[in-house]
Symmetry: C2
Subunit: 157 residues, 2 copies
């Protein structure tokens, strides 16, 4: 299918592909940082950050879940999730309770204060998503999600 009418062409094509893959992976890194900065800017007035916002959402949708399961939902390790939960508990947004069935487990709930943030955060989300995906067609967004899922799967082997 490629017009590989010469070895040089093919070699050049390979090099170009590698360069593209390389820059794609780095671009993901950059975009991730950019997302973080823009998010944080938007939600700073509520005393949140991107990571805390995500934690808030997941806890809100899974009240009573253990920290480990929250970590799994966030795709992070237990330590990272635990730290985040600690900080948000200190901010009065989250409440930890002990599980009567398993004293190792600490279940997590939103406080009233935390719950009050859900709606404004959701609204901030709309604005943010619109900003990032300006000019994107729905089909393109779906394709992007698929690409990311495939990358994730490949990374996990």
């Amino acid at each position: 299918m490629d017009d590989d009418h010469s070895d040089a062409q093919t070699a050049k094509g390979k090099a170009a592909r590698i360069a593209r893959q390389s820059s794609a992976l780095y671009a993901i890194h950059e975009v991730s940082r950019l997302i973080s900065v823009v998010y944080d800017d938007y939600v700073a007035e509520h005393g949140l950050t991107r990571a805390r916002w995500w934690t808030l959402m997941h806890v809100g949708e899974n009240e009573g879940a253990s920290q480990t399961s929250i970590a799994a939902m966030l795709g992070t390790g237990r330590a990272a999730a635990g730290r985040q939960i600690s900080k948000m508990e200190a901010l009065g947004l989250i409440e930890r309770r002990s599980d009567p069935n398993d004293s190792r487990v600490r279940t997590v709930y939103l406080t009233a204060k935390g719950r009050e943030l859900l709606e404004p955060m959701e609204h901030a989300g709309y604005v943010l998503f619109a900003k990032f995906f300006r000019g994107f067609e729905e089909a393109e967004e779906k394709t992007l999600v698929q690409f990311l899922d495939r990358l994730k799967a490949n990374a996990a082997e």
Copy 2:
């Protein structure tokens, strides 16, 4: 184009789209972390990390550049780049020299030891890229790069 034969349908579609955008942005965050972990794993034997590897590459291709310009290439702030360069100087991979024309500037060069890493790192790159992009067609990779560029541009407003 959409089969919006009811308001509920449309509302549901909007919600779905927002959910998709949301998860896409989070997926970028996750994939970025995964890339970091996998990279670090691959290059750990050479005493490097993903960030250091990128720094090494950029310095190697732009010897004599100032730290600020390296930071610009990396897309990070001067502080982050400077720290990275300091660490790599401590590792003996990079050498800082003072610019005779501007004593504020510190130009950056690879040491022999740093240069020796270029090739193994390049090879590690091939393996890594192949791992991440397994199953990807070239056209898809190009599309992904375009998506990321657009996200980057949108983030920057």
